[in-house]
Amino acid sequence: MEFLPWLILLSPLASAACILLFAHRSKALSVSLSLAAVLTALGATLALLASGPQTLASSIDWIHLGSALHLTIGLKVDALTRVMLLVVTGIGALVHIYSTVYMAEDEGKSRFFGSLSLFMFSMLGIVLADSLTMIFIFWELVGVSSFLLIGHWFTKESAAKAANKAFLTNRIGDFGFMSGILLVWAATGAVGFDAVQQNMAKLTANPALLTLAALCLFCGAVGKSAQVPLHVWLPDAMEGPTPVSALIHAATMVAAGVYMLARLFFLFAPSPDALTVIAAIGVVTALLAALMATQQDDIKRILAYSTLSQLGFMVAAIGCQAPGSAMFHLFTHAFFKALLFLGAGAVIHGLHHEQDIWKMGGLRKTMPKTFLTFAIGTLALTGAPFLAGFFSKDAILLAAYNKGPLFFFPLLLSAVLTAFYMTRLVVVAFFGEAYHPTGHGHPKDHGHDGPAAMTVPLLILAVLSVIAGYGFFAEPIFGHDLFHTAHSLATFSASGVLEYVDAPHVALVPMLAVGAFVLGTLGAWMLYSGKPKDPVRIPLFANRFYIDEAYAALIAGSQEMLASVSDWLDRYLIDGVLVRGIAGLTWGTGYALRLLQLGNIQGYAFIFGAGVVVLLFLLNK
């Protein structure tokens, strides 16, 4: 049983290596290689889940410098890992199948599948990691694979720029993450999760250091899960092919941040103000992203902002001491968001790369299967009762309610907005008449459902997003204790142990949630049904609160200015003054001494004589 986690981890790596080294010439081979890898990983995960909830752990040495430093590559499988493994390999497999069709005629196909396998390897690495450094290693590897996948069509200038932006923003997050690791290691002398948990006393002794380390580690999550300050890269990441957006920017990679926060919750729990900061950022992201999403016209951007908003929910849940509900929401969200993205991909594929929702319309009739699955996904996302989203979002709202009104009401408002913008999308894209480019005449051939390899994954995901919320399904996977924690608050008792106490059940919260759903859906329905053009224009939201422009001016601008100042400084001050200065000095003295060559003999004789006189005078004094 020990070898299963290693098999899961290493098979995608093997396929990525084979593709990079020699399979990249033949496209079919590389596709089948990466598909086989992801299916073996899925199989191994299912076998692992079937084998019952015991935790496994095994590690090999990476760097071992005497007693001082012991870094290992180790795998740890417990309830939390099982959830993520299922999500990653499940959705990974579906996306692989889906992209065999979606990327059929792309000439960089082998490179695409190579980087997809590389991504699977690094994502599984994060999920299975057992120490801070190992999770950091795969953190950056995931960053690189998202760079490769976003920049897949690198000939497009915008795709290359988006890939760079994604990698750099992640890198800023990783900077915080690494400083957090260093702080934790400096205080506790250990890097493994269990080892750090054991000597938590050393950290809790110094609360200021603990908060600083916690916030630094949270920095990593902010970077990866695109929370407010570092969220700018996710919407641009839509430049990548749609399966990539579905897999990476909806279900798995962005969830890595939330998973890391849940995994390290024992570190965050003891410092209340770290938790409030996390909750605050979560709430702000949720609200901001929801507002922005209401005004976007590109179908993938709307889903991107919706992902941002849901991630805000999960981080807020962690902040409100409910890691269980955050993970539960992550679990359900992965399914219906992947479904929505793949649905959007089917629409784009059907309409020959048309992404603007106002140029769609009446797809209900022309793409029935896609419409059905998309509708289910939307309902699940917006929290329609008895669907997956409802249960997990309700748990988070409960935790937020428990935390305080300042956190509960913004989340409730973003729940309303979620319903609003999703219904807007569905109404505009799928209902109403087909879009006439010239307003009359025969509409261009208006979309068609994709082949089986596209629609089957959609159906599977639709089923999953319906049943994911129920206990009978979640429990065997979660293991009883994790499902129980999904609805409870975690508090860090004085004795240094994490306890899960049931959140006080307030009947008001579910009702408010349903009210939010109804309000949002009806509002959007009335506002948008039958409109050819967007009736309400709010430039502030449409331009994403001008954050991008602010960043471009502030950070990029100041960096360019700083760079050119230092370049000028280097060229003229150090190079000029120091180097040319000394060279000039020597040249100057040379020039001055040259004047001694008078040219006439008398001058020389005089200098001899004067020299002798001075010498005599000095000697005789």
């Binding site: 005089f606 004589g609 004067a610 006189v613 005789n620």
Partner: protein, 167 residues
């Protein structure tokens, strides 16, 4: 040697020296140089250095001055016409030589041995040439040989320098 003779010859020597320096016509200055060499030789005789006196007359007055005159004739130098002289060089040169003289006086004043008279010789007839030859070929044999080589090199140098390029 009586002081009168010494002063006579010294003043004569200095007069000839001054005329070498001040004279416009190179031949005149060459001849006055010869004059000063001869007075010097006389002084040497006064100092019982007969061999050196003879050499002085023979080599300097005889060979060197002849060479000078020969060159002056060869180059057919006219007396210098008045060129504008630049005052700085004049003042500079005078200052340095004045400094030498002042320094000389200063030193001689405080030079104890200077004021003693010459001790007279232990032997009345001084076969000067044998003694100089003895010193030269015993203690200073190596320098003597090198000087020989030096003279050889000088003569070769002269031949090379004055060879006219065969156009």
């Amino acid at each position: 040697m009586s002081p009168v003779l010494f002063w006579a010859f010294t003043l004569l020597m200095l007069a000839f020296g001054a005329s070498v320096v001040l004279n416009r016509n190179p031949v005149a200055s060459a001849l006055s140089l010869v004059g000063s060499f001869l007075c010097l030789a006389a002084l040497f005789v006064g100092l019982d250095a007969f061999f050196i006196a003879v050499i002085q007359v023979l080599v300097y007055a005889g060979a060197v001055m002849v060479l000078f005159l020969f060159i002056i004739m060869l180059l057919d130098l006219k007396a210098e016409q008045r060129r504008r002289f630049n005052p700085v060089a004049l003042v500079g040169g005078a200052a340095v030589s004045g400094a030498f003289v002042a320094f000389l006086l200063h030193v001689l004043k405080s030079f104890p041995a200077g004021s003693q008279a010459f001790p007279n010789l232990g032997v009345e007839r001084l076969d000067d040439v044998r003694l100089v030859g003895f010193a030269l070929f015993n203690h200073f044999n190596l320098p003597f040989q090198t000087v020989g080589v030096l003279v050889l090199v000088a003569s070769i140098g002269v031949v090379v320098l004055s060879r006219r390029e065969l156009k």
